[in-house]
Symmetry: C2
Subunit: 602 residues, 2 copies
């Protein structure tokens, strides 16, 4: 249904009769109205003000819900007699049901209205984000299935409600994943304020779920007793005797729950970011001018050292991680394993930083145009990168102060000190590299552009000035050699002259030869820069993946080394780690996405 | 010197030879450059990218400094053996000296360079903000003078460093206040990145000072032992015997220190907001098109009920506050005083909410144009209002959950519950009212506009469409009656026709009579709305002042009633209050500023 509308839209774009700069389909656009701004002189201004007011009110709704949820969760943590985890679950279930109602209404009602989705934001919901929604969503569903199974086994000492809650959660995850997979690019043009409120309610629910997961992560530290603790909290004091019978299936459920837990945390954050982009896109009018955006494809050829080095880093990382986990779970971790762990980081982080710095320098050397069009997805990416990095940077500064104040000359302490300093440096350089890369226009080879024809013309045209600058010395030659590209721009005007030239086949043959020579020349000229950028970003992707896997699956030396814990006191350091670690994990995941984009556009 | 430049600039604005839409003085504008973006095709684009990069890097600098400072302060709080308050003071003194160097360089170097300040942002640094910088600055200086005096009296058990630190602080406050008083409107056009880094360093220093003051506010709860505690922390354990000798001057110093303390907290926040606007304005080009902005003046005539009701609220509030303070400081506060305190709020808050709602409705009824020009000061105002409100709203939600979970039927508890709910509602309605009011164009009476002559012409012209809408029914008559306004717009073109008409004195007399009649008619038509807006905003200003004074000078029933403290535990509730209360105080102060602006533009 939706696809229909978009395709119905498409042929109209190629109509030559309409000027490209005029806003398309002005008759079908629903401009927003708001009673506060009835008296604006222009429709556009009223629309913009109504948009702002709608965003303000839906934002206020979300703020109130999030605060209420935070207060509930804090009560559970600090006073779990008065408010139990069951109360929070009831609150969350109500919220989830409300969200479900809205999502179903959106899918069946709002998005099927006439002229509901006139535009789709090509930048929103890239495949890697939607893929991770699906991946984490399935893991979260599995997690809840395990929980249902576990509760079913121990049904004698559990209430039926404990099966109901995960069922609602599964329903919520499925519907939300479906919405995000199909509609993440929508710029909805009807029922603006209702849609905004629905989106904000869903964001708030996800945020509360995340908060709950993060605070439940408290228990994550003592991994094995986690489930028992959750049960105890859940049911009060009466079920302390309820432990897992020694059947295999019960153990599988228990282990699976512990392993899958981090993914549900990530799922909430990813959903929040996609929903936020949808919220920003409500009522947005995209001029068809810059809709035809050439999607760069993921190609692996031409990169050697990046994947090699990266794979080495991943393999060594997995070994280090395994050894660390074996040591950490079997007994109190000794000095040796910490030295190994931190040494790995101290070798890897400078390599990554140097890579990012070289990448930034190459970006500066490259003569590419900047993409300065409005793009909510990219703005959000930048904000999320910077915001998520704050978690790790903050933790590092706390470590640095603690170590400098105690004994920086001790072997382990000096290792942690350099690790912290390097981590800050790595985060900053990588952020600069990614942000800079996201603002570069994708490289489009001349041959690619010519195949795409009309659709790609604007992109090529805007790319030309930069390209021309590179060959200023042989400009005369350039205009002689490749009149093809320039003619394409002026195609309509001097079509006849082009035809006339076309008959002399000999001339054409010479031209083609010259053109391909110059193309090869420019390709080999640009090549080392593009190749270096791809090598670097591929290497950084792999490094970020391993740095993401390690804390996700339970290696938390910042907590287990005991240094900062004894310096700041258990509860303070705990709060800092609880805030910083999940953000750090999210940062790595998000960096992978950003770096993949940099890789593809290089 | 600076004034010179601006006045040299001014006559050029009135030159008739230059078209108004062309950017002025293109030869003197220093466009920004950044090595990362050398290859942009257009100067404007390169300038914008360089601006973004400069903001990113200076922001990163501030972030690192703030994190380092926070880590230091946290260490002092949680481990004051390893890191003492003296270490934090040393760090802060270094930062302050760096800021001082930059400020002096800015005052003597940067701002005196040729073409350094081509534009001044008329919205930045309004008089009430600069006034509060001076006011709070002087109080902070007094505070530090008291501290020096106190240290000088107890010189036998204090180091000389304790006189040095407040001296540096006084120097810093003076220089910063001078900078903000004279240069808060600057849009600096030279040495962009250096200026940005300097500004960000100063902001970071102020933020750390604020953080320190807020965490030192811990001690504020036990007011009388505050100073002793600070001393103990400062000097370690050796000076426990150092107490104030029973001289009057020592007692004055001690009391003055306690009374003035809250103002230094506010000073830091106000400076941060002004410096942030300066930072946003670095490298900004304002087209002279909308520079001539008519400043509405503060006039008191025409408002009666607002001031009366507001004054009553202030007087009752002061009485309640005094009784509360006497009770709270003399003994453990009893139930009665809390009931009185909360009842006062429960009566006042609904009145304020109703006022704000009515004001918003009147805004909607009024046929006024919206001011949608780019305005960093206003954007910051909106963000600060929303952000600062979060403190109180968050605290209220925590209170609500705590009360609902314990016993909402108890008298005091039900009072606190309604207080919390009303506070949330009041904050939100007031924010909507202020934000909406800030976006309305100031009302300019026709006569006022005529006096201001050339400068006001654009503002009047842009206001006309909205005005005309109100009198659509008698449009024919309108154009006949007041050709004066329209002629003014076309003055240059048909000056001769105007002269010709001027000779027939009889006609003119009739016209003037008709004009004044129609003016009176339109004035009385608009009057009730404008008057109601002014009454409401004046009332809200006075209410916010009293709600600002009470927590600033020490009435903290949220902490002293003991309900939430026992529910969440001492340390948790303490953290929440420590975060929420200063923000709440800042919110009230900022609301006063915003409401004054709404009052003046109504």
């Amino acid at each position: 249904m939706l696809g229909n509308k978009v395709s119905r839209q498409k042929p109209c774009h190629h109509c030559k009769s309409r000027s490209a700069s005029a806003p398309p389909d002005t008759s079908t656009i629903h401009y927003e109205k708001f009673w506060l701004y009835r008296h604006c002189s222009s429709v556009q201004q009223r629309n913009r003000q109504a948009q702002k007011a709608g965003q303000l009110f839906s934002g206020l709704l979300a703020m109130n819900v999030v605060f209420l949820g935070s207060a509930f969760i804090s009560s559970v943590i600090f006073n779990h007699v008065a408010i139990t985890l069951a109360d929070v679950w009831i609150l969350l279930s109500i919220l989830k049901l409300l969200c479900l109602c809205w999502i179903i209404y959106y899918l069946l009602g709002t998005s099927r209205q006439p002229h509901a989705v006139l535009y789709r934001d090509s930048h929103a919901g890239p495949i890697w984000i939607r893929g991770s929604v699906l991946l984490f969503g399935s893991f979260s569903i599995l997690l809840n299935a395990f929980q249902i199974g576990y509760s079913a086994i121990l049904i004698q000492c559990k209430t039926r409600v404990e099966i109901l809650f995960p069922s609602i959660e599964i329903l919520f995850i499925c519907t939300q994943a479906f919405l995000l997979w199909n509609h993440s690019k929508d710029c909805i043009q009807v029922q603006h304020n209702f849609t905004r409120c629905g989106l904000m309610l869903t964001i708030a629910t996800n945020l509360i779920l995340w908060l709950l997961a993060v605070t439940n992560d408290t228990i994550h530290m003592e991994i094995d007793s986690q489930l028992r603790e959750v049960e105890q909290r859940f049911a009060g004091n009466e079920t302390t005797s309820c432990t897992c019978p020694n059947t295999t299936i019960c153990k599988v459920f228990q282990k699976g729950y512990i392993l899958l837990y981090p993914f549900s945390t990530e799922y909430c954050l990813v959903c929040c970011s996609v929903l936020y982009v949808m919220w920003k896109n409500v009522g947005r009018h995209i001029s068809h001018h810059h809709v035809p955006h050439i999607k760069p494809k993921f190609k692996l050829h031409g990169v050697v050292f990046g994947p090699l080095l990266g794979t080495a880093a991943v393999i060594i990382g997995i070994c280090v991680f395994m050894m660390y986990q074996i040591q950490a779970t079997s007994s109190a971790p000794n000095l040796q394993v910490f030295v190994m762990y931190y040494s790995y980081y101290i070798v890897l982080l400078p390599l990554m930083s140097v890579g990012a710095v070289i990448g930034t320098i190459i970006h500066a050397l490259e003569k590419k145009e900047l993409d300065t069009l409005k793009n909510p997805t990219r703005s959000l990416d930048v904000i999320l990168l910077m915001g998520a990095a704050l978690g790790q940077i903050g933790m590092s500064y706390f470590s640095i102060v603690a170590i400098v104040a105690t004994d920086p000359k001790d072997l382990l302490n000096s290792l942690i000190l350099s690790y912290s300093v390097l981590l800050i440096f790595q985060n900053i350089t990588q952020n600069v590299f990614i942000i800079d890369g996201l603002h570069r226009q994708p490289f489009v080879a001349a041959t690619d552009a010519r195949h795409t024809g009309h659709a790609g013309k604007h992109a090529v045209a805007s790319e030309l000035p930069g390209e021309e600058e590179t060959t200023t010395s042989n400009k005369q030659e350039h205009t002689q050699i490749s009149p093809d590209t320039e003619e394409e721009v002026k195609e309509e005007q001097n079509h006849e002259a082009y035809d006339q030239r076309r008959v002399s086949m000999l001339e054409l043959g010479q031209e083609i030869q010259k053109l391909s020579l110059s193309y090869l020349h420019s390709y080999s000229h640009l090549n080392w820069k593009r190749r270096a950028l791809r090598e670097i970003s591929f290497f950084l992707v792999l490094c970020n993946i391993i740095l993401w896997v390690m804390p996700t699956f339970g290696a938390h030396p910042v907590f287990e080394n005991g240094l900062e814990k004894s310096f700041y006191g258990y509860s303070t350091w705990f709060a800092i780690v609880n805030f910083g670690l999940p953000l750090g994990v999210f940062y790595r995941m998000h960096s992978v996405g950003g770096l993949l984009e940099v890789y593809m556009t290089a």
